[in-house]
């Protein structure tokens, strides 16, 4: 249930801060946003704290963000809408492990509406919690709920808050996700391991001001009997730029998480979704 927000500058400021998550804003921009968030304290004290939590997260101080959000939850009750905002912030900033912990602490599946289940599955999928996301979807389907087989509107909100962003390939649909805990086990990894590395990758893209619009993990049976995991990061770039970004991502991950190179059947890919076409044809 969405809490009635006071008529303040909260929403436009939240939008500006949200837009800044995907990029690496300058110190000047951050100082300006911080100043405006602080000024909001008189009209909307909790809104002000939440915005400062978002800025702390952007600046990499996720512990401070957590402290501030917990303060808001303590003062106002942890509304589902606010918890989702925190989850999406963590997801977009590349703090996948923390997002998983926040979900487990503050959301109870049995108390959520079906639409919230689906929304949660999307956010967790974006963070790399693919098996958890798949499990939530499967449980939802078992109740007779029909999944919305459409673009990840929540997850792509870095680049666009509109539904059905046509820059995203049609393959990024809920129904196409195949990855579950059994598949990960066959690969020899766990959900948390993948999520950690997906978070690292999102932070890498942020450091280059490259917007990650969606993340999709797919378990793939190989012709040699093994199972592979392909994690696609849909980025707001041309295919050529995305190929360079992917090459650099692989170099970054080789240093940040060398075990990603050692696990033979996990692959990370960048898919450029910008309309501007490559020279491929």
């Amino acid at each position: 249930m969405t809490q009635a927000a006071p008529a303040t500058n909260f929403e436009p400021l939240k939008k500006r801060i949200t837009d800044a998550i995907a990029i690496a804003p300058s110190e000047f921009e951050l100082r300006q946003l911080r100043s405006e968030a602080t000024k909001l304290a008189n009209a909307d004290p909790m809104g002000s704290v939440e915005l400062r939590a978002m800025l702390a997260c952007i600046e990499g101080d996720v512990d401070e963000a957590d402290r501030l959000y917990r303060g808001v939850f303590g003062a106002t009750g942890n509304s589902v809408e606010r918890v989702f905002r925190y989850l999406m912030l963590l997801a977009q900033a590349g703090y996948s492990a923390r997002a998983g912990a926040v979900y487990r602490e503050f959301l109870t599946l049995s108390e959520l509406a079906p639409q919230a289940h689906e929304r949660l599955a999307k956010v967790l999928g974006f963070c790399g919690w693919a098996a958890e996301s798949t499990m939530i979807r499967q449980q939802l389907v078992q109740t007779g709920y029909e999944l919305e087989n459409k673009i990840f509107e929540d997850i792509s909100f870095v680049a666009s808050e509109q539904e059905g962003d046509d820059r995203l390939p049609s393959s990024i649909t809920l129904g196409a996700l195949l990855t579950d805990a059994r598949a990960l086990s066959a690969i020899g990894v766990e959900d948390a391991w993948v999520a950690d590395r997906v978070g690292d990758a999102i932070q890498f893209f942020r450091s280059r001001s490259t917007g990650v619009m969606a993340v999709r993990s797919t378990a793939i049976p190989h012709d040699d009997g093994h199972v592979g995991l392909l994690v696609n990061f849909y980025v707001d770039q041309t295919s050529e730029d995305a190929a360079e970004a992917e090459w650099d991502l692989h170099g970054f991950m080789a240093e940040r998480s060398p075990d990603l190179v050692d696990v033979e059947d996990v692959a990370f890919a960048a898919i450029g979704v910008q309309v501007k076409e490559s020279h491929a044809n």
């Binding site: 393959s171 190989h222 592979g228 190929a243 692989h250 692959a267 990370f268 960048a270």
Partner: protein, 149 residues
């Protein structure tokens, strides 16, 4: 008539147009992978069999190629290759990504694959082929050095 790695890459590019149907796009994604595979093969053939490889195997399979690159025992090929530790990790991960995408193209018919996925696979393949060329040039420059003393 024999073909080479560049021919496969050219085929992939030529079959990734806006009017191509999904079957053709999938074929393009698959050929782009094989273009990269064959671009690297002459180099990988010079590397020792991997620790888990089968020394009696008559050809280098997909997994063995990646293992040889990952182990990067290049001393007998060219001493300067040893310094490419990040590039070899990048090469392994790029080829792994290409292979997984090829598996989707060839085997996951229930999944969908569109032009953006394939265009990316082709751009990725071009990157791998450029690295393969760099490695090739480096090895050949060593041969020239030796030949001319």
């Amino acid at each position: 008539m024999p073909i080479n790695a560049m021919d496969l890459q050219r085929f992939a590019k030529a079959n990734c147009g806006p009017d191509m149907d999904e079957t053709t796009l999938r074929a393009a994604a698959s050929r782009a992978y094989y273009g990269a595979y064959h671009a690297l093969l002459p180099f990988v053939e010079q590397l020792p069999v991997s620790d888990r490889g089968d020394s009696s195997a008559r050809h280098i399979g997909h997994r063995e190629m990646l293992r040889r690159i990952q182990e990067w025992r290049t001393a007998s090929v060219h001493p300067r290759l040893a310094s490419m530790s990040i590039s070899k990790a990048q090469l392994v991960m790029a080829m792994r990504t290409m292979r997984e995408t090829r598996e989707v193209a060839d085997y996951l018919l229930d999944d969908s694959m569109n032009r953006k996925d394939v265009t990316q696979q082709i751009a990725r393949g071009a990157k791998v082929q450029s690295i393969a060329l760099q490695v090739h040039d480096l090895i050949n420059s060593a041969a020239d050095d030796a030949a001319y003393g």
